[in-house]
Symmetry: C2
DNA sequence: TAGTGGTCTAGACCACCGG
DNA sequence: CGGTGGTCTAGACCACTAA
């Protein structure tokens, strides 16, 4: 039988009956778990700029001493900050404060509703290039069974085949978003270039418009959730970064013609809409 | 000096050199961390309906035996699922599979753009009541310094005073969202009822419209991130549930008149927009 | 009261990164 | 190589919940 030579006290440790925050200045009113104190303290210091974007945090060993806590407790606190999206961590290197450069996508002018003539070849490249970054993308086209949820939006029979045009986008080599557009079979039969494995130069929306299939209305859905492990891998994000999901169903005069599901890293992307009469906005300056 | 009677082997434990997944059938190709195996296995079982929404998971003790792992390792796996938003946990009760009933808000018709006459008293109650739930809300009005980011959107000097109308909304007693609307000082001076601590029956947008301040355009911004501890408390969510944030700036013919920031529980809310000509949508049926 | 999860410690071996 | 984080164990006390 083995007896651990503890300090004969509760909580496992001798001191720090979780409270007092000891050596450090900041302490909390009453009995907050130690790991929370660690997280809260560091979070505040990040907010105050003690640790700026890209900076390394002190090592676990140092934090252990500073907070007079065990390694696991310190790690629990750090884990919290990781799960809030404030820190990055990877083996062999120090915890690092995340830096955020946010890309804003204006969904109400992304594809020009009424008149497809303006500027565009590929709307995404344009948007990104306008912000002075280096975009590139992986692209593939498949013939697949339309997924259940997409089939509902496209009003096709569940299980029916359709074309999937898939695209993963990078900005300066950072995975940015994945985009999957499904076209129903009837459309592809009539306009077979949709199924060809090349990127369509003029943009597929434009291609369809030129062939008489004009998208005159969109139904957009926006939601957020945490990534599955596959999604996390695909977008190279760890836990703590939520996804921003944008599902756009495009309509011709009488029926849906395509459904696009775009999955963004939530920490790097915002989406905007301009609605109604915004003459007042043209005189802006600060309003990004 | 104390020597722990380990199995004289690595990894601390005797067996389970993280691999093989022992007693259970499912195992992964090669040396995936044990806690990941725990998480992946349980995640798959949840997806397969072995554990449905609202069900209790086996206790940590049972899982410890099933996976032949230490308690901490099992907990690490469970923690992952919590952080993915799949599980709830609280002291004294078993881990529970989260159930999601999603509320969809149509932002493009939420406040009727052109003509304020239709239906509304309070747009939120209407939306919610239409879905057959019991809404209620906490409400307060304050005179505050307009926050930096809001000031930019309202085009007022940073540090200027303004009115904040704050609202926390519940559906069937579950906190659903918080909403903070800021009005600039010049507007409040002209229309002082904005600063009164009562809910405005007809809705403040309507109130302003009746007094000649019509909002004819909106600029909407949508984003997601993990909640801060205060936000988590306010919306009663644990880690693992991202926020969905909606910032609407309303414009009159010549300038912004208000800025509303709505913070939703991301797991319970979707936002939609209808753009352009959607005659085709009126003939729907399944498209929620 | 019995059982569950929450917090904490101490110590171990590993994989990875940089100098 | 030394230092950092990643994974894991064993055991302890606590707080909460439900029967």
């Amino acid at each position: 039988m083995i007896v651990h030579p503890r300090g004969a006290t509760s909580q496992g440790g001798t001191h720090n009956m979780y409270q007092q925050a000891g050596s450090v200045g900041q302490d909390e009113p009453m009995s907050k778990p130690l790991y929370r104190q660690v997280a809260d303290t560091l979070r505040a210091e990040i907010a105050d700029g003690v640790f700026g974007p890209g900076d390394d945090l002190p090592s676990e060993r140092e934090l252990r001493e500073r907070f007079d806590a065990s390694r696991n407790t310190v790690r629990q606190g750090l884990q919290l900050l990781v799960s809030e999206g404030l820190l990055n961590s990877s083996q062999g290197r120090a915890y690092q404060v995340r830096s955020h450069e946010i890309f804003v996508l204006n969904a109400s002018k992304f594809e020009n509703l009424q008149f497809s003539q303006r500027e565009d070849g590929d709307s995404y490249d344009n948007e990104v290039l306008h912000s002075g970054r280096q975009p590139h993308q992986e692209f593939r086209v498949e013939m697949v069974k339309v997924p259940q949820d997409i089939a509902e939006r496209l009003k096709v029979a569940p299980g029916e085949q359709g074309v999937l045009r898939f695209c993963r986008r990078f900005v300066d080599d950072t995975p940015w978003s994945t985009q999957a557009t499904h076209y129903p079979k009837w459309l592809v039969d009539a306009h077979p270039r949709l199924a060809e494995p090349d990127d369509i130069e003029e943009g597929s929306t434009r291609y369809l418009a030129d062939r008489g299939i004009e998208q005159i209305g969109y139904h957009d859905e926006l939601m957020t959730r945490m990534p599955t492990p596959e999604e996390a891998r695909e977008l190279q994000i760890g836990p703590g970064v939520p996804l921003l999901i944008w599902i756009r169903t495009g309509f011709s005069t009488d029926k849906p013609v395509r459904c696009t599901r775009t999955t963004f890293r939530g920490d790097l992307n915002h989406i905007t809409y301009d609605l109604g009469d915004l003459r007042a906005l043209t005189t802006r300056g600060d309003l990004h």
